[in-house]
């Protein structure tokens, strides 16, 4: 059921050491591209694989790399996005802490493909341990000549910096991340220009998610066609899913795209915790619209989830059972987005604050008639009107909670209390 490609060796505690990584075929793909392939051929192979961004937006990686302007004389940069802060998501961490060399190798290949000589891995600040593992991997790669000057005698130079953040979710958004690396406050930038044209230090820059880049060595070793043969027609390859919430066996699972959600929740996840009934599923990280129990057979791929009214997002599947109040869920989520808004644009900065006030008062049993409509109107005024997609991310789960569970919201206002309690004791 699981298809372990990126995660094949994550349970081997020695995989963090370069010798073990090498014994599993590590750095062969880097050697192959440096000695046998021209950068455009690497880009072509990645395009052929169809691998799409695993950070949330799902943009084809090879196509993005092709956006680097050919005639721009400025240096180019690669940034590997390991900020991983969308609630529910904890998959990049697995790769960074258990197979860090696969991330280094993927970054090195991608850097070569886009003509970069300096690559950054942006690690969320709280990930002290994954950052240490990445630092160790980078050091070992330098020692063995897979990074640094004249790599493997091919004349290609590449430096790599592990950069750690400071606990801001918005720094996962690529333009904020670039500001953060530059040493600024992590506020989003207006686009255009897109990072591929003017990114880090106003130079052409490619930002890719950890999981996206970790797939690259496999694509080079086995060919783009091999990768594209997995998954569905438009969602190729495998994807890591972080399963959390009310399931028996939460964890990270690597699945071929197109695998039914029920396989993840019931077969791998062992079904619902303590036999409670399923109420809702957040399928792609906290910002994606919720699904209902009758949608549990939806296929986990980019297109099927859009068809089902949601998104694949970062692949964080959060399972919610019948004991949960959906206003309470909405309050948790809006609190997060209000806290994490960078403050650059008014609809998001002020809108998330008002939303939190309104939703909290409903949750406290102080809601007034008309509050739901006010929330809906606020959501409508934020959606699509902000500098970066955090505004949309904040309102989507709220809109979906109201759409799917309006009776609970109304009950709250009329009866000044929850319909169901959400009192969860830890073990």
């Amino acid at each position: 059921m699981e298809k372990k490609i990126l995660t094949k060796y994550v349970d081997d505690p020695n995989q963090i050491n370069i010798d073990t990584y090498l014994s599993h075929g590590g750095y062969k793909a880097l050697e192959k591209v440096l000695k046998e392939m021209k950068p455009p051929e690497v880009i072509e192979e990645v395009k052929k694989s169809g691998v799409r961004g695993r950070g949330g937006a799902g943009f084809p990686a090879g196509v993005k790399w092709g956006f680097i302007p050919k005639d721009n004389p400025k240096p180019r940069y690669l940034v590997c996005n390991g900020d991983e802060s969308e609630p529910g998501t904890c998959k990049d961490r697995v790769l960074m802490e258990s197979d860090p060399h696969s991330v280094v190798e993927g970054m090195a290949i991608s850097s070569y493909a886009i003509g970069s000589h300096l690559a950054f891995i942006y690690n969320r600040g709280e990930f002290a341990y994954p950052a240490r593992m990445m630092e160790k991997a980078v050091e070992e790669a330098y020692e063995k000549g897979y990074l640094g000057k004249n790599i493997l005698g091919t004349g290609y130079d590449l430096d790599m910096i592990v950069h750690t953040g400071g606990g801001a979710y918005i720094c996962g958004e690529e333009s904020s991340q670039l500001n953060s690396i530059e040493g600024e406050r992590g506020m989003s930038r207006m686009r255009p220009p897109f990072p591929a044209v003017a990114g880090l230090y106003a130079c052409p820059t490619i930002v890719n998610n950890v999981e996206t880049l970790a797939a690259v060595p496999f694509i080079i070793n086995n060919g783009g066609d091999w990768y594209a043969s997995m998954g569905t027609e438009k969602s190729n390859g495998t994807k890591l899913f972080s399963l959390s919430g009310h399931v028996k066996n939460p964890g990270n699972y690597e699945l071929e795209l197109g695998t039914p959600l029920s396989v993840l929740i019931n077969d791998l996840g062992g079904g619902m915790l303590d036999g409670h009934k399923l109420k809702a599923i957040i399928p792609g990280g906290s910002s994606t619209p919720m699904l209902l129990p009758d949608q549990i057979d939806v296929k986990l791929d980019y297109e099927s989830l859009v068809e089902a009214g949601s998104m694949l997002g970062s692949g964080a599947v959060i399972v919610i059972d019948e004991r949960t109040c959906m206003v309470w869920v909405a309050e948790r989520l809006i609190h997060f987005y209000r806290h994490e808004s960078c403050g650059k644009c008014t609809p998001c900065r002020d809108g998330t604050g008002w939303l939190e006030q309104l939703i909290s008062r409903i949750e406290r049993g102080e809601g007034k008639p008309g509050d739901i409509e006010k929330i809906e109107s606020l959501c409508g005024n934020i959606m699509g009107r902000t500098v970066c997609p955090l505004g949309d991310a904040a309102v989507m789960p709220i809109q979906s909670s109201i759409k799917l569970f309006r009776d609970e919201w109304e009950y709250h206002i009329q009866n000044k209390k929850c319909m169901v309690k959400s009192e969860f004791a830890f073990k």
Binding site: E86, A168, E182, N252, S286, F336, F426
Partner: protein, 158 residues
């Protein structure tokens, strides 16, 4: 100087790797926080001297990043994730249990300056909920017994 030799050396080592000096701001702030446990004006001044950019630029950047406390905290900063995946598995009751065990409310520090208890947003440990971070360590799949043991071990270590 408050920053010790090791911290200064670390900042300088990081600084030279970046194409622009100002990129060393967040790494330098991180080093200072790891040494001192919280950030304050004097540290900003020292960082600004090392990387040679105005102190105000250090302070504005630092103020954006909530991971670094700007007031003194206890020797052990307990940060419990209260976000959705953890909340579904009892994060609130975990906070309550810690409040009871430590005899403080969320946001407070114990009288002996040993523990500060706060709640934070998702830490990327959602599949091992409920979880918390104490200083740089993650503690996951928490149960009452585990929490008791963690606190006891920390007290013994102190």
């Amino acid at each position: 100087m408050i920053l010790n030799e090791k911290s200064v050396a670390e900042i300088k080592k990081k600084m030279v790797r970046y194409p622009r000096r100002k990129s060393a701001r967040l790494p330098a702030i991180t080093v200072a926080y790891r040494q001192e446990g919280h950030l304050h004006g004097e540290l900003y001044r020292e960082i600004s001297q090392i990387i040679e950019i105005p102190v105000i630029d250090i302070a504005t950047a630092a103020s954006f990043y909530t991971m670094f406390p700007k007031e003194p905290v206890g020797k052990f900063l307990i940060q419990v994730c209260h976000n959705i995946s953890c909340a579904l598995l009892g994060a609130d009751s975990l906070i309550g249990y810690l409040e009871e065990k430590l005899g403080i409310k969320k946001g407070e520090t114990t009288e002996d300056d040993m523990f500060t208890l706060i709640s934070v947003e998702c830490l990327g440990g959602c599949t091992a909920a409920p979880m918390m971070q104490i200083n740089d360590e993650f503690y996951e799949n928490l149960t009452h017994e585990k929490v008791d043991k963690i606190l006891e071990d920390l007290r013994n270590k102190a």
